[in-house]
Symmetry: D2
Subunit: 379 residues, 4 copies
Amino acid sequence: MADLRAQQLKLLAETFGSERIDEVIERVAMLPVEVPSWGFGRGGTRFAAYDSPGVPTTVEERIAAAGRFRELTGKGRTVALHFPWDGSTPDDIARLAEWLDRAGLAAGSINANLFTPRGVLDHRLRFGSLTSPDDEIRAASVEHNLDCIEIMRTLGADTLVLWLPDGTNSPGQMSLYDQAVRLEAAVSTIYEALDDHHTLLIEYKYFEPGMYATAIPDYARSRELCRQLGTRARVLVDLGHHAPTTNVEQIVAFLLRSGDLGGFHFNDSQYADDDLATGSLHPGQLFRILCNLVEGERRGHSPIDELALMIDQSHNVKDPLAEMIESVENIETAYAKALLVDWDSLHEAQDDCDPTRADALLRDAFLTDVRPILAEARS
Amino acid sequence: MADLRAQQLKLLAETFGSERIDEVIERVAMLPVEVPSWGFGRGGTRFAAYDSPGVPTTVEERIAAAGRFRELTGKGRTVALHFPWDGSTPDDIARLAEWLDRAGLAAGSINANLFTPRGVLDHRLRFGSLTSPDDEIRAASVEHNLDCIEIMRTLGADTLVLWLPDGTNSPGQMSLYDQAVRLEAAVSTIYEALDDHHTLLIEYKYFEPGMYATAIPDYARSRELCRQLGTRARVLVDLGHHAPTTNVEQIVAFLLRSGDLGGFHFNDSQYADDDLATGSLHPGQLFRILCNLVEGERRGHSPIDELALMIDQSHNVKDPLAEMIESVENIETAYAKALLVDWDSLHEAQDDCDPTRADALLRDAFLTDVRPILAEARS
Amino acid sequence: MADLRAQQLKLLAETFGSERIDEVIERVAMLPVEVPSWGFGRGGTRFAAYDSPGVPTTVEERIAAAGRFRELTGKGRTVALHFPWDGSTPDDIARLAEWLDRAGLAAGSINANLFTPRGVLDHRLRFGSLTSPDDEIRAASVEHNLDCIEIMRTLGADTLVLWLPDGTNSPGQMSLYDQAVRLEAAVSTIYEALDDHHTLLIEYKYFEPGMYATAIPDYARSRELCRQLGTRARVLVDLGHHAPTTNVEQIVAFLLRSGDLGGFHFNDSQYADDDLATGSLHPGQLFRILCNLVEGERRGHSPIDELALMIDQSHNVKDPLAEMIESVENIETAYAKALLVDWDSLHEAQDDCDPTRADALLRDAFLTDVRPILAEARS
Amino acid sequence: MADLRAQQLKLLAETFGSERIDEVIERVAMLPVEVPSWGFGRGGTRFAAYDSPGVPTTVEERIAAAGRFRELTGKGRTVALHFPWDGSTPDDIARLAEWLDRAGLAAGSINANLFTPRGVLDHRLRFGSLTSPDDEIRAASVEHNLDCIEIMRTLGADTLVLWLPDGTNSPGQMSLYDQAVRLEAAVSTIYEALDDHHTLLIEYKYFEPGMYATAIPDYARSRELCRQLGTRARVLVDLGHHAPTTNVEQIVAFLLRSGDLGGFHFNDSQYADDDLATGSLHPGQLFRILCNLVEGERRGHSPIDELALMIDQSHNVKDPLAEMIESVENIETAYAKALLVDWDSLHEAQDDCDPTRADALLRDAFLTDVRPILAEARS
């Protein structure tokens, strides 16, 4: 097997030039991918959540699994954390810091859980968190974010992720104008509390858990919030948070070009926010997204490694650790292929109105078996 | 108000003829609508499930709420039950029978919970129930249906509803051929166990909880199963279980005409299986569905009152009892309007290739305010 | 019939107060709705376009039909025009002005046809117009818009509508970055050529005729262009130009609140850009859109009558004039109902977290038969 | 390059065994793919259809292009024909036969054009063809199919493809019951006219050109027609004719298993019936479809080469011949990869509830670069 890989690698070098292949190996090796602590536990659906033997159920176990992931893949130096799932008290946070440290990991993005802020399952939350008509609930939801900012300081984390489960289930439930007003006020308070080197990533989602009008349904809304707040606020793109048939790669290119792209929650989906393994169903789409990142970087927009590249999936069936590895490999695969595109020839073909040749160049990269590159990058 | 309604009713009689209006009142009053016991409890999402004060949490409370619903609306004589949610032991079932009886209600359709058959949250269930590769799980899932058939006998219920949460999350997880083979074997065993006067309703759903390939994704699959089983198996249409943009009323007409329509799970949705209040977002669609039922009956297909007309919603925000009343009123509204269509003139216009006139006739019925008819039907 | 309407109107006045009803009648009567000249001709599909007897085929006939529409409905004082469909030469434009004048009509929005700019079906246009890699095509496409601005001056029209058929059919065909760069440059040139009292409305569309990446796929892209250009550029919302399941009314509220909403292309659709009669399939959605306009105006955002309310449909089956009347009536119906909402009580219920009552208030308005109001507004 | 391919092929043989690779080469070489005569001409949209220099515009040129395609790819021995596009008179047909013969081609499936049956653009056709309320139109539409059966006899073609552009644009336009009744009557007449060795393939489509209810919206309807007709009627799956998010591969497996699958119209799409190059956007889906065909054949269902594997695309931008070659290569690629799946190990993993391993096996095949196999198969 190892010998086979070596021969394949040699053929790749003959095809693309060995300098080029070495560069791709290097870049794949250096690509930072963040993994979520919650992703090492078993996921569930609204119908049932099944535990299973050997799958982490405690914070400590999840961090340990993240450590193993790091050993196996070389990725995941930073781990996304979710509070209060990953702890509430100062003691919890201290222990968490220790576990991370022991595993050679660092705290990545910090996610505030707003469906149970501060761990309280208050029934009034069904009317929303940061956009609730209820002043107390709104205040508590802001407070929970401020707690998370404190945790960021403690753990040395730089990124706060804001996803709010706010949305309505009927047209009458809430004025879409009030929803917007309250949203902006709350998010502004949170942003003001951040330190200068902190980044706020604002996630959007077209539906669920709200089934009629979510507070931040799309990238237009998320971007508008970011623009109102300031340069440290950026848009977070979760691949599964778009209406069916949406061209996600075009959104990515738009945000990258306008300087508003903060990062990704990678996953895959057939129907809705299915949270399946990244690239498992739509490898072509993943490739095109990475192509737009690579092309964007070439054009002077944000370098890929300055984006927050995070996996966010729900591992309902497969072993979580295994599915996380599968996912990161699919990202590396798409990235390697995007790097193998002959970009100069591609742009030439495009300028010549020669789509046949242009697509052939993309296909040349996509059809190439880059597993030898991944293997090399790992070692 | 009462006086106003009387005057409105008088105008309706002048417009449509009083005989016609009386007939519509009578038919609306007689329309049987079944409500689910679980619908009187608070619903939730995969993110959180919030209880709330005053909302039923026990079986007894839910049945009592169903009783109040019956008093207030005159509908809901039969109540759909879900096992083991509504009981497991013979004692449970005996108590349930008593509660129903006390509230003047009868057991409606019986629903077997296959994500926790027999109340066991076995982790192997994440690979499916009736289609699981695991023999034990498959057998237990069949057994749970047989238990439910026993409960049907005890409670005098005639209808078993089969919805299975089986579906895969990746292309490799299960052969689509094996999935089909196992499905047919299991369902056949269940069907064989039914008594002669029992009906089996088979529900389909295009996704969730499985995110790649559900075992019964559409009405074609459900209908094929029914055809293989025999005449007592029919298709159950849940309005929220279709791919986006699907023309649901056409499916309804197709199944009614071919004799395969068993009934409905009524609800409404914007995105997926949102389980919102029936008719709350798409009153036009609900009207068209009822139109196709009325037209179908006029053409000699199944009378509407021989179909199982069931509400199946998740009441996450509003008071469940209130939302159930809203929903049944929306069904009555659509039905009354469908009955007010001038069907003879409509068919004439259709035969004359005069869509302008044809649609005007539908609109005449749809734009009519039928609330006086509903009020009269209730009293 | 007239007597019946009078009685119905009396009951409405008793229910809502006669002052209120009078105000609604007045507002419905004053609502400006613009109709497109091309909408009075027969539409077609990519498969076939059938003429039919009596349906206008010349510009003169279409303007005459627009005149009849105005007589029958009181709406359509301004007529949207499409060039070169409605003329090319100065003589054409002079005649057009005369026909409009004779029919008591005025030129409304001016639409530049960019799939055959200047009437030339140049095969290179399949690579795009304003975003084409071909300099000549790009220049000609800009020129055609400048011609249209000249026509605006001649006809005294104030609004230029920009919809471009630009989009790609494969990932390789065009860099999404180049597409954006060229788009911005071309649109900027057009905007600069406008007079100070002119408005530019920029339309977006998620697909078709391009099947992979359209140049302006969504309201985020359109709005960004407007923001870059200046305050006289606004977003045009065509109801059929959104991905399936999109909550269009939320987009409307967002744009209205941020001051970016310029107007509408009204129509209805089940699947894609179907261009069916407005409100014919989704009366609930149309009502909600009008509700958001009415609520927005109440909150101090743009008054409804300052928006460009245009119908844009393809009349493939019904008589075009009849379908236009049906459509405008559906808009008036939705508007009247939105005006009948008890907005104060609604906001109270929303602030009280009482969605049951809130939705009941919306339903009260929606279920009201407002045809007597429309009849009164027309007379 | 040739040397490189040889080395790559050697590595593939080392990985999979040379016998296995030889078999895959053989099977790829033998895979029959049919191409449509209309696909060699320039496609268009409802907005515009641009010709372009060098692209065939006559029947003779299209057949010549099909001949070149055959030379270049070894595929396309049979050519799908469309009437009256490809001829009307006996003389036309005779010439067509000669052109085919000269190019070493044979007539493939025969497609009756029902939006202009017999070349007549009768305005009444906007109400439908085989389902029209107009007796004359219905009769003429049937007649045109009978003409096509005559052409089949003349050209020695065995397959009639039925796709009808029938569908309505509003709920009132046609009773869904009448639509079904007329459809069945007309199709039955056509089926009866076929010879014993003829096959009828019935295509379904969820929308367009009808925008509300198409006569055969889905595979359930198409299959039901086939079942009513007899064993020589089969379902034709066009990949772009499904509602968004539909799992097409599951439909394929279902139809193959039940013996109802007749063949394919291959293409790709992001939004609707986009008719893009097969596999250009969703290579993963194409691979899964081929996997289900390969697995179905292994299980004793229809051999792949007994299905009608046809390309049906609209070449609006690229050179048609080049895009056809791209498409057939994508099909060959997916097929070769499906053949490389280790099916025995896959089923073992599935039976063991080991989805991680199962998906890894699929991925192993998908990630393999099979271009050396294709090159070999071609030579």
